[in-house]
């Protein structure tokens, strides 16, 4: 069952990849003939739906194997988030029939799922706090809400790629490239993790933690930054000695991974720039050339309008009910709780600005990008960096 489950996830991943290319084909095709049936898009959405079903299959089989919904650790949650993103895209596609949305939504879902796979993938048993039906209810609803909100990011990104003037450098081109760099760095993280994982790199250190206790840590990437007073263990002789040593309060291993990811991201980004001979957003601009801006704006807004209530229900209301049952209080200012509140406040501000101050179009698109950055921060940084009650994620 577990094997079947992983295979299904793998299949869905490949299908999303194929779907991306099919939607890409749809864009090229449309330029030649506006009329007639759009075969590329039809195949694209069909492949996407099959991929989605395969991923649902992964989810169901893993649930059966584990006895609980696979949303209990970072790998499972992030994968589920990717699945919901594809699900939300499919629904939005059938409302608006916009192929270019698939061309951008699917790669982002792919990145998210690939990112998820870099974390421990084994099925873990539930600790007492997680043994509740609210696990399924709260986590799935929150993920669904975030995924729908993420569609507004996709629409916003398309809007910006189309509308930002690439003929000369400006603040707008800079920030758009920052977004691109963020996406490329995620890919960089996936590549270095996979590469060192395949090569089986291991280096053990003994180090002194902030309570002056000696502990051990195992690196899976060459240590550019080492732990506090870290020394290579005997069995790791010959492995790279850290170039810089970190103070005890900093988690050197995680920082090391971040540095490697940024380096890989930078290399990839520079390589792309050299090959393309222009900004990445400029290279993507032709793909968005025929997009109706009002429609992209409308989709972005609609996604927030639909996603915001779902997010409120899942990430705040259900969360509070469960926290009252499991942790004795419905609200405790745990970092994850606070970041859910921050996300909520942000989208509340977004909606008010849009409704009353007329922040449509480009301003709204930038806001959607920032909103997604907040969601990603809550998913990545709050789990890995700011530890709290929610940090079931592991290393």
């Amino acid at each position: 069952m577990v094997q079947l489950s992983s295979t299904l996830l793998y299949i869905s991943f490949v299908l999303y990849l194929i779907g991306t290319f099919l939607f890409g084909g749809a864009i090229r095709d449309k330029r030649k003939e506006q009329q007639g049936k759009d075969r590329w898009s039809q195949f694209g959405i069909a492949v996407t739906i099959i991929g989605f079903l395969a991923q649902v299959g992964y989810f169901v089989t893993r649930w059966i194997a584990a006895g609980h919904a696979p949303v209990s650790n970072l790998f499972e949650f992030t994968t589920f988030f990717g699945m919901m993103l594809v699900g939300a895209f499919i629904i939005v596609y059938f409302i608006y029939r916009l192929s270019v949305l698939g061309l951008f939504a699917l790669p982002i879902a792919l990145l998210i799922i690939a990112y998820a796979s870099m974390f421990p993938r084994e099925i873990s048993p539930l600790i007492p706090a997680l043994q509740s039906d609210w696990l399924h209810i709260h986590v799935t609803t929150a993920a669904a809400g975030e995924a729908i909100l993420a569609i507004s990011f996709v629409a916003g990104l398309i809007y910006l790629i189309r509308v930002v003037d690439q003929s000369k450098p400006s603040k707008r081109t800079f920030w758009l490239e920052v977004v691109m760099f963020g996406l490329v760095t995620t890919l960089g993280f996936v590549i270095v993790s996979t590469a060192f994982g395949l090569s089986g790199y291991e280096a053990k250190f003994t180090w002194i933690d902030k309570n002056n206790q000696s502990s051990e840590v195992e690196y899976h990437m060459p240590a550019l930054v080492g732990p506090h007073k870290g020394e290579l263990a005997k069995e790791s002789a010959g492995r790279l000695d850290p170039l810089v040593e970190m103070p005890a309060i900093i988690n050197a291993k995680k920082l090391n991974t971040v540095i490697w990811s940024l380096m890989a991201g930078a290399v990839l980004y520079i390589a792309l720039r050299l090959v393309l001979r222009k900004r990445i957003a400029a290279a993507l601009q032709p793909l968005a050339k025929n997009v109706n801006l009002d429609l992209a704006d409308e989709i972005g807004y609609r996604a927030v309008a639909i996603g915001f209530p779902v997010f409120t229900l899942g990430a705040l209301i259900f969360a509070m009910i469960w926290a009252q049952i499991a942790w004795t209080r419905f609200w405790g200012w745990d970092p994850k709780e606070v970041w859910a509140l921050i996300t909520w406040l942000f989208y509340a501000a977004f909606l008010h600005l849009r409704l009353s101050k007329g922040w449509h179009g480009e301003k709204s698109a930038w806001l959607a990008v920032i909103g997604f950055a907040i969601i990603m921060f809550n998913l990545v940084a709050v789990n890995l960096v700011i530890a709290g009650l929610h940090s079931y994620a592991g290393t």
Binding site: M1, V2, A65, A66, G67, Y96, P120, E122, I123, S124, P125, I127, P128, A129, Q131, S132, W134, K210, I249, D294, L295, E298, Y301, R302, A305, I306, F308, P309, T312, L313, I317, M320, Q324, I325, A326, T328, R329, F330, G332, W333, D334, P335, V338, W339, L341, I342, L345, F346, A348, A349, H352, R354, L355, S356, K357, G358, H360, G361, I386, G388
Partner: protein, 552 residues
């Protein structure tokens, strides 16, 4: 109050932008720009009166700009609160002033000095939330009353200037006007519009209730905030901790001596290879066998006091129920909830020793000492007797090198025994602690040999009673309802009017123009009427730039 009379005869309150009934713009400057349809052009107090202090405060808080600014400031403050852990999450027995500096250096020190260690309970954070509350009330009242008035009084027949300044607007010239209007009326009804007809003009409307969504959700939020405030009213909220040992019966704190709890057993389980689902093996291997907690459980019996409370007397108890308290499964009774939150394993309870003849090894009897309630003398019969001269539950040597006890909890019990035997009538003294025995007055014939240690587990439980929960629940439910009402429906209106022998069609929605246009396409399909053009798009394409407008 001055009022403005429109040419259609309707009397509008001062400050109205366009007539409530016919929609004729009241302060027309011959503009051709699109009408700002927010709040139906109604007279909002904040936009109309700006003289007195009250007016100005009202105008200040009714501004969405101010509301958004408050939201953004709260957001940034909340972010700051997550940079370092809040004081409630640092170890309980440290001095926060030192802790922040030790752990995070100068940044931690600054964080502490600025009071960010208790940010969410600080006066200014609470003030921010309160200001948001005030803004919610004033914003809503400022808009909902005139909006309700305007929507209630809107007429079917509209002024041509109102129609031609709508975002979706089209003109058709047709011969048979009556037939076209009749057909549209029928189709609109089929699309579930409520259609009103007056002198051959149509007003079709649906989803007006979605306009109230924002105000409903604001009411929900206000109720929620009131609920959160009430928590500080005495009696509304109880939060206590109790530690109860296996076998012990204790009064439950916060219940005024009405309820008692007995712990039968505390259970702590971990996941083990071979016992649990084998798909977990890989995860167990990574963390370590027996390292992942599976269950924390206290089996308890709940008692209620019967009869009056008499000081000093043993309470008379009546069993209410037995219940296994687990994480996620608190014991609930009479508005109270008891939660499993903590535990201590294997706290020593009784220690047994055997009085032994050192030479022959013969045991002459066993002494079991209750570490919480030791006896002075243990009589073993046949002339053997043990006296407990001193007892140190948590033994240590104090500064002067004398034996003493750190606490009353038997973490490290030590005893001074005096052993009496028929051949030692004056007794022998022996000091016994874990792993060591001292005989201060020379070689003894007898010794107290350690036999066994009986331990028990202690459960840490939290006692809660929260009378504000239902208010929060009601507030949350109303908020959700209002959110869905406002977000998942939209208010659409279509005007069909005969103007100078032409058929004018205009349409407006507060959001989702895409959906409205699709609906119009279906409505006009095959009628030969002109599809209203999206004038916002036309303007954009013409390079004039779109006007901010149109939604609420």
């Amino acid at each position: 109050m001055e009022q403005v009379k429109c040419e259609c005869g309707h009397v509008n309150p001062h400050g109205t932008v366009f007539c409530e009934s016919c929609g004729k713009p009241l302060e027309e400057q011959g503009e051709k720009s699109l009408l700002d349809m927010r709040y139906e052009g109604s007279a909002r107090r904040s936009q109309t009166y700006k003289r007195t202090i009250v007016d100005q405060i009202w105008a200040f808080f009714s501004s969405v700009k101010v509301g958004v600014a408050l939201i953004v400031i709260t957001l940034i403050a909340s972010v700051i609160g997550t940079i370092f852990p809040q004081e409630m999450y640092i170890p309980p027995n440290v001095n926060p002033a030192d802790y922040y500096e030790e752990q995070y250096g100068w940044a931690g020190k600054l964080y502490y000095e600025l009071g960010f260690n208790n940010l969410y309970g600080s006066w200014w954070y609470i003030l921010l939330i309160a200001l948001i509350g005030v803004s919610l009330v004033i914003c809503s009242l400022d808009r909902v009353v005139p909006l309700y008035r305007a929507l209630k009084r809107q007429g079917v027949k509209r002024h041509p200037h109102f129609l031609e300044r709508q975002r979706l607007f089209g003109v058709s010239r047709i011969s048979d006007m009556d037939q076209a209007v009749a057909l549209l009326k029928e189709r609109l009804a089929k699309q579930r519009y409520r259609v009103r007809e007056e002198d051959g003009h149509l007003l079709a409307e649906k989803g007006r209730f979605s306009r109230w969504g924002p105000y409903v959700n604001h009411v929900g939020l206000i109720i929620f905030l009131i609920g959160a405030m009430l928590r500080s009213v005495p009696g509304m909220y109880i939060d206590e901790v109790m530690w109860v040992r296996e076998g012990e019966t204790k009064e439950i704190p916060g219940t005024n001596g009405q309820y008692f709890l007995k712990s039968e057993k505390f259970i702590f389980d971990t996941y083990k290879k071979g016992e649990d689902n084998e798909v977990f093996n890989a995860a167990i291997d990574r963390v370590g066998d027996g390292m992942i907690a599976e269950n924390y459980q206290t089996n308890v019996v709940l008692y209620k006091r019967v009869g009056p409370t008499v000081a000093g007397a043993k309470p008379e108890l009546e069993k209410v129920k037995e219940y296994p308290i687990r994480v996620n499964e608190p014991l609930k009774f009479d508005h109270y909830a008891l939660y499993q939150v903590d535990f201590r394993l294997n706290e020593p309870k009784t220690m047994s020793f055997q009085l032994t003849d050192k030479q022959s090894g013969k045991t002459l009897g066993t002494v079991a000492i209750d570490l919480y309630d030791p006896k002075e003398t243990y009589n073993l019969g046949n002339g053997y007797r043990v006296e407990l001269l001193s007892y140190f539950p948590d033994f240590e040597f104090d500064e002067d090198g004398n034996p003493s006890t750190k606490s009353r909890v038997p973490n490290n019990p030590a005893f001074v025994f005096k052993m009496y035997a028929p051949d030692r009538p004056e007794g022998e003294v022996s000091f016994v602690a874990i792993q060591q025995t001292l005989e201060p007055f020379g070689d003894n014939k007898y010794k107290m040999a350690f036999a066994e240690l009986e331990t028990r587990n202690v459960s840490g439980l939290t006692v809660r009673r929260d009378f504000t929960l239902w208010i929060l629940g009601v507030g949350g439910a109303i908020f959700m309802f209002g959110l869905v009402q406002g977000m998942y429906w939209n208010h659409r209106r279509i005007w069909v009017q005969r103007v100078n022998g032409e058929l004018w069609i205009a349409a407006h929605t507060n959001k989702n123009w895409f959906g409205l246009k699709k609906e119009l396409h279906r409505l006009l399909d095959g009628t030969g009427l002109t599809m209203p053009a999206d004038r916002l798009e036309e303007r954009k394409q013409a390079g004039q730039g779109g006007q901010a407008h149109g939604t609420a």
